[in-house]
Amino acid sequence: MMLCRRGLVSLFRYERPRILCSGGQRQKHTLPDLPYDYNALEPVISAEIMKLHHSKHHAAYVNNLNIAEEKLKEAQAKNCVSTIISLGPALKFNGGGHINHTIFWQNLSPTGGKPTSELEEAIKRDFGSLDNLKAQLSAISVGIQGSGWGWLGYNKQTKKLQLATCANQDPLEAATGLVPLFGIDVWEHAYYLQYKNVRPDYVKAIFDVVNWKDVSERFAKASHGNPFVVDAVEIVFINSPAYRGLHDTNCNADGASGKCL
């Protein structure tokens, strides 16, 4: 029997977890429920992988993010700047892990449908075809050295779709300014029990369980949503070497066509 709380999900309409900035009292982060059963993505991703990935790996990022935030709160209360700075890597790693996985679960579905006509048009404009997009995103994801993520993002500045890779758990938007639409987790824990060392087979198969409805919604929101959320000045700053040096991120988002250096 699957252990994810499908019963609850069915009774109460599944709501997207809110982990992005919001006002109000700070609450501890919690592991979001999956919007489907652990075995829902079989045979592309086994129930065993999904269960470990969600209930162990994602849960560890959430727990460690809460711990890092507690330490941050204490350091702020004591006005200890040195400690605040030293917490940076743990906040980025665990916060990034929480953000990335939360998007990832929503990005996948056994019944993901097709891109909306609006997204399809943008894909044709920026990549030539959906097949080209898949081929390019697959190539950069397979090519990631070590652990990381391959991303389809939206560049609010150029108003184009753009591909990028991020090392480890570096979060795409904080690191590059791109709005994440669809991410492929190429950490070995995401595929190892099933695909072992053959990462290309996993990346190829994952396109069979893309939740295009979710990806299309993210695209619609990014391209029509509040255009003032991130303004041009902020994007220029985020993309500047000074910011990158400051935050020591390892994301590569060069070229609107997804060319990866």
Binding site: H57, P89, Q145, G146, S147, E188, Y192, L193, K196, N197
Partner: protein, 196 residues
């Protein structure tokens, strides 16, 4: 000369109490062999063809560096493990105690580094270019040779190293790793580095 897999004495037996035969075989014959095959293909006709592994690690970058360095890292790692438990010699213990306080402190520091790698990589005990002993994390394929150090002991902190046998429980793997270190090999490295 083409790079080849080293002899791994416990390839078929695994390391009882640490790694199953299946896990060792996949790691050696798929992952390590994969780096060797890729490295040999990349080296053909490149300026690095015929150079030593150490020379390539110091001078190359990109895919040639990644694949050749991973060949070195894995070859070194296989030597650091043994299916026969071996104690630390007095000479090695004395040097480690002098630097880290005690063997327990050394173990604690080494395991702390190993369990906190943000992503894939390696943890090495090495002699750094200034002559001191250091425990450091290295991302992905990096290692002490690249920065002029001398490797003395390593553990693989890529998930594929423990995932088949331990899944997400990496702390359990690292704890057990320490009981299966080939201290005879480490002692040879200490001697070669002029530490004892």
């Amino acid at each position: 000369m083409a790079l080849t897999l080293p002899n791994v004495p416990y390839l078929n037996s695994g390391i009882p109490g640490l790694l199953t035969p299946h896990a060792v075989q996949i790691h050696v014959t798929k992952h390590h062999q994969g780096y060797i095959t890729a490295a040999n293909n990349l080296l053909k006709g490149s300026p690095f063809a015929g150079k030593s592994v150490e020379e390539i690690i110091k001078a190359a970058d990109g895919p040639i560096f990644n694949n050749v360095a991973q060949h070195f890292n894995h070859s070194f790692y296989w030597e650091c493990l043994t299916e026969q438990k071996k104690g630390i010699s007095e000479a090695v213990e004395s040097v480690l105690t002098k630097t880290f306080g005690s063997i327990k402190d050394f173990k604690d520091q080494f395991l702390q580094k190993a369990s906190t790698v943000f992503g894939s990589g390696w943890v090495y005990l090495s002699k750094d270019p200034s002559g001191g002993l250091v425990i450091k994390q290295y991302a992905n394929a990096l290692n002490p040779i690249k920065e002029g150090g001398i490797p003395l002991l390593t553990v693989d902190a890529w998930e594929h190293n423990w995932y088949i046998d331990y899944e997400n429980r990496k702390a359990e793997f690292f704890e057990r790793f320490f009981d299966h270190v080939n201290w005879s090999f480490v002692e040879l490295k200490f001697k070669a580095a002029g530490l004892i």
